[in-house]
Assembly symmetry: C2
Homo-oligomer: 328 residues x 2
């Protein structure tokens, strides 16, 4: 029998999950839950109902796992610990500093209600974290480097849109090529924030706005831009619509370490992602971990987990013998 999956939310991430589920043979989308009026939400999947989020608590027997597609700022800190009371759940909580607190809250409710929660699935946290963990275990004597981009930073884009005179704006984080090359060479460079990434802003100004003032305010903004080399481009609304609607992203994780009695042998591990669609890739990770959550629940292995706690074979629709024959 197919695994019965629900989606909570219907933004870009949820749409990615809907699409990814349509391409699995062992999982089935059984419902989408929204805070909006369900009648106002049109989804792509035929024969699937849209429900009010208020109906969630009464449908416990109809779903094996819920994929939570809300945001990390305000949705997930409340939703995951609430809905794990009723379902096995997956989320992509990505506020690194608050993961320990989120884990604790969710773990308590998961254990109490005998459900599985897998939090912080995606690529960072997620696949990048896995690379860091495996690489640290193999090369305990070494240094980690993580680079992001080229891709849109939502937080920085929000920040530039709050600047006076800015009508619309988008910010790209770009890893510095020479820094990537230095790390790749195994030379273990010490890199400042400025040396690792540059920031590029595309701004649609309000009519008559003071462009020089906008540029100055952005470049000097503490935390967001003052520690970086930032470029500001002013463009038209039309240009913005044509060229800056994409959701590409990616990045690089390195561990550069050494072995040998005198640490004489260097090793460089590199993992990178180049993604046309950040939300669709993250959604694909969520779907794979949803499969694992259902399997863990079937074994009675309840509680809150992260990607670190999940044996990789649990993510696959194939059985162990098939995996050993074809992928090992």
């Amino acid at each position: 029998m197919s695994t019965r999956v629900g989606i909570i939310g219907y933004g870009n991430l949820a749409k990615g999950v809907e699409c990814a589920l349509s391409k699995t043979s062992d999982m089935e989308l059984k419902g989408i839950f929204t805070r909006r009026d369900p009648a106002s939400v049109t989804i792509k999947s035929e024969g699937v109902n849209v429900y009010s989020i208020d109906a969630l608590k009464d449908m416990k027997d109809e779903f094996d796992v819920m994929i939570l597609c809300g945001g990390s700022a305000t949705d997930l800190p409340k939703q995951t610990q609430e809905y794990v009371k009723y379902y096995n759940v997956i989320d992509s909580f990505d506020t690194h500093a608050k993961i320990p607190e989120h884990f604790k809250n969710v773990d308590e409710q998961a254990l109490l209600n005998k459900h599985v929660a897998i939090i912080s699935c995606g690529w960072d946290p997620g696949m990048f974290s896995l690379t860091r963990l495996y690489s640290n275990c193999i090369l305990p004597n070494g240094t980690d480097y993580t680079f992001w981009g080229k891709g849109v930073s939502q937080g920085h884009s929000d920040a530039i849109r709050r600047v006076k005179g800015v009508k619309n704006g988008k910010q790209y984080t770009i890893p510095v090529d020479s820094a990537l090359e230095a790390v790749r060479s195994g030379s273990n460079p010490e890199l400042t924030t400025r040396q690792k990434h540059t920031r590029e802003c595309f701004i649609v100004p309000e009519e008559g706005a003071d462009l020089a003032a906008i540029e100055k305010e952005i470049k000097e903004m503490p935390n967001y831009f003052s520690d970086y080399d930032t470029t500001v481009h002013f463009i038209t609304e039309q240009e913005f619509a044509n060229n800056h609607g994409g959701m590409a992203h990616g990045g690089f994780v390195f561990r550069s370490g050494s072995t040998g009695w005198n640490n004489e042998n260097k090793h460089v591990i590199e993992y990178s992602l180049k993604l046309d669609s950040n939300p669709e890739f993250t959604a694909s990770v969520l779907v794979a971990y949803a499969r694992a959550a259902v399997r863990l629940a079937a074994k009675g292995d309840f509680g809150c987990k992260t990607v670190f706690d999940i044996a990789p074979a649990l993510l696959s629709p194939c059985d162990g013998a098939e995996l050993r024959s074809h992928l090992l």
Copy 2:
């Protein structure tokens, strides 16, 4: 209490394990077992005994796990299934085609004797396999590419040393840059064997040998060289000793796939290793998985496993809370 580790064998891989163990704080080398006369074997670790391999069966209470460092051709197919009767064991069995058979033999004895075996740990099979599995689960619609090198192929080096007139020789497998770039671009190229790797041979000829005949025989050798562009260099014994004693290796694993209702969004996952010492890196993987084997055994989760079955957190000396805070 430290995990008590034994090593079976004392070649390059075993020496790498010895060195890696010396740098852990939670594991301790308690003995090395050899087929040679123990008195003839001098090891680096002080206060550690060298035993005859015949003593293995009588020391069951003195070791938590044995790391088997024999070869895949003749040693491991016999040793792993034999020694798992007495100990939890780890091996680096790397004959891909024979993994299912090896797994079955080891699994039977492991279950019967309530031990854990983790087979085929290293980088391929091992870390490369993990990348293939994770990437296949996330991007079910896609193509895998694996490239090896630049590094020494033991099998191909053995093959050229069997050619008449060859005194010594070494073969390097080299991935073709343009093929790597094509895969990296996401264009999903179909690549022939010849397009993926070139082979470079360094030969010390016997005095008076027919160099043209050697070169022809190598380049036309079926299976090993005839499907590749091969370069043959003749060098002196001194040059061979100076420049070709290294054990560097590495390689690249890619998955290039797409998401979206019409597969309109492309994604490229790339994992690569650049290793100064192939045996020391493989040894470091073995040591991390030895830690996991002991933990699985303590939970009573017996049987034969591969890297696919091991939750990554089990490889780390740190606890879950520490990992979530620092690496997630």
